[in-house]
Assembly symmetry: C2
Homo-oligomer: 325 residues x 2
């Protein structure tokens, strides 16, 4: 079993070899740019690690891993336009460095290029199943993004709606990436489903952890500004749970804090955190996260391969929760 670092290196080499050198340059340069600004390469690594559970010749799934990474970066590119985000991983976003039209069209060609790479899988008989998984996931990611945008202007978002949104927007791509690795690795249908559910539940746990860290994280370690979700009135799990369990007074206070634009940012963060603490919200969120993680590990446990092959995935899931990846 290779280590996470080795999987990352194998993928990184493939990424380097597969830079887009096609014409017109104006279309492909932004594609290489966004792919070069990095990240953990979590999704492609999950494709490779999932395949390796069943079949160690992981070069077989490199085109699928690349397809997943290109697709993920396409979603980031278009989301950044929609969110008018100036920075991505500390670098100018594509629509800032180039322009909005370039961002739209380069994003479009990335999505198609993802499909094109998926077709490079050597075993042609796998292609219909891979496309089926990819299509479903890609559609769900768009639906998740739309729900996320809808929630910005809604004040009656429920917890199940929120969980479904983060599942669509984030988890299904991790799940689908792993399912694709399993398909290429010739896993049984049952094992491919377990691996999908592992990815899905890890993704949900990861997103809840993200909500927790945004409010309770260590400012030294957390990449973004702690409290950013509170300042932006984001309807995270923490807020929705707080609104659910709060008495009338706390509920009213929370709602006032979220609808009064003139409040000083630091005071707002402190006051909301104070309400969260009174209501034990952090623990409630930690419990939900642990539940997802437990379910994830149960599905991994059920996959019919020797236990030692699963260790690297267990480590990765635990590291993700500690933000050490």
């Amino acid at each position: 079993m290779q280590t996470l670092r080795q999987f990352q290196e194998i993928f990184h080499s493939y990424l380097q070899e597969n830079q887009f050198r096609n014409q017109p340059r104006e279309l492909y340069e932004p594609v290489n740019y966004i792919l070069s600004i990095g990240g953990k390469r979590l999704r492609p690594v999950l494709v490779l690690m999932s395949q390796a559970l069943f079949d160690e010749k992981i070069e077989k799934s490199l085109p699928a891993a690349f397809a997943v990474e290109v697709f993920h970066n396409f979603t980031l590119l278009h989301d950044d336009i929609m969110d008018e985000a100036p920075l991505r991983r500390g670098k100018p976003t594509v629509h800032i460095k180039y322009d909005v039209n370039t961002g739209i069209l380069s994003g479009d060609v990335m999505m198609i290029a993802a499909y094109d790479f998926l077709a490079k899988i050597a075993d042609e008989s796998k292609i219909p199943a891979l496309y089926k998984t990819f299509n479903k996931v890609a559609i769900e990611v768009c639906e998740g993004q739309q729900y996320d945008m809808n929630f910005e202007t809604r004040d009656d978002v429920t917890i199940p709606e929120y969980l479904r949104m983060i599942e669509l927007k984030t988890s299904v791509l991790l799940a689908g990436a792993m399912q694709m690795g399993a398909i290429i690795g010739n896993a049984s249908a049952a094992d491919a489903e377990h691996i999908y559910q592992f990815g899905r539940n890890v993704g949900l746990a990861f997103q809840i952890q993200d909500d927790i860290l945004d409010t309770f994280g260590d400012p030294e370690k957390f990449g973004k500004k702690v409290g950013g979700d509170i300042v932006q009135n984001k309807k995270t799990y923490l807020v929705l749970k707080a609104l659910e369990v709060a008495d009338e007074t706390n509920k009213k206070d929370l709602q006032t804090l979220m609808t009064t634009p003139t409040i000083n940012e630091e005071i707002k963060i402190l006051t909301v955190k104070n309400i969260f603490n009174q209501l034990n919200i952090r623990n409630l969120a930690e419990t939900l996260k642990e539940d997802y993680l437990k379910t994830a590990f149960e599905h991994l446990e059920a996959v019919a391969v020797p236990k030692e092959r699963k260790q690297e995935l267990i480590n990765l899931a635990n590291d993700l929760m500690m933000r050490e990846v």
Copy 2:
């Protein structure tokens, strides 16, 4: 052999049955909207007509026909955002009726939905070949759009570059649509290639015809304002050919007309047309169009099916040149 009208009706019924009823509504309503505002449905009809050359059970290729139409409308949707176009076929464009973010995301989901419909083809063994054609065409359409945008700010566009741009932006989708129909109809590789070349050359002829009509069309019959290309300084085949064959005086006059923003529109149209007439540009363009059409018919001739099966395609190509479709 069914008539063009019958093919259109079969496709129209399928389109009606396959409206997007998924959630969230905000994502799919604009998709149904743009698909409802019509057009000739030329591309999906070409899929069906191409299949019918080889196999009359054209319901087999309806999902591919739908995929092609959804993809085409996705490109229109994103192009309209990039061009800031307020109207499409006389109706408000999606980014005007809704907003730009909706336009971006609904366009994205349309492209994926196109891939998803292509996977609904009953004979799974055809899927890798269909995706291969579709991926290639879809990438080329994006490249064509980028070249078109690049040409707006370039003053050294050559005729071969222009012809390659219109091939990518317009012709390859007609060609690919027909190739997909041929694949589904179990055509030989040679016949599928002939059918591709038929579509490609008809597309090129059609685009040259479009350039001619924009300047020399009958204002009563032409849908858009005659002379629009001249007013917008578009580098059409007419202009590029005129710049090629003009003497120094005419060349200088043309360049002045294209770079002086203060000229009265009607005078500009008249003066440019006058130069075109002096240089016999309309005839030169008609000749090129006829050459493409001749090549198209040679490829259709070479397809190894009885001659009478080809008649409806010959009629369609001729009608397209007369703008009677």
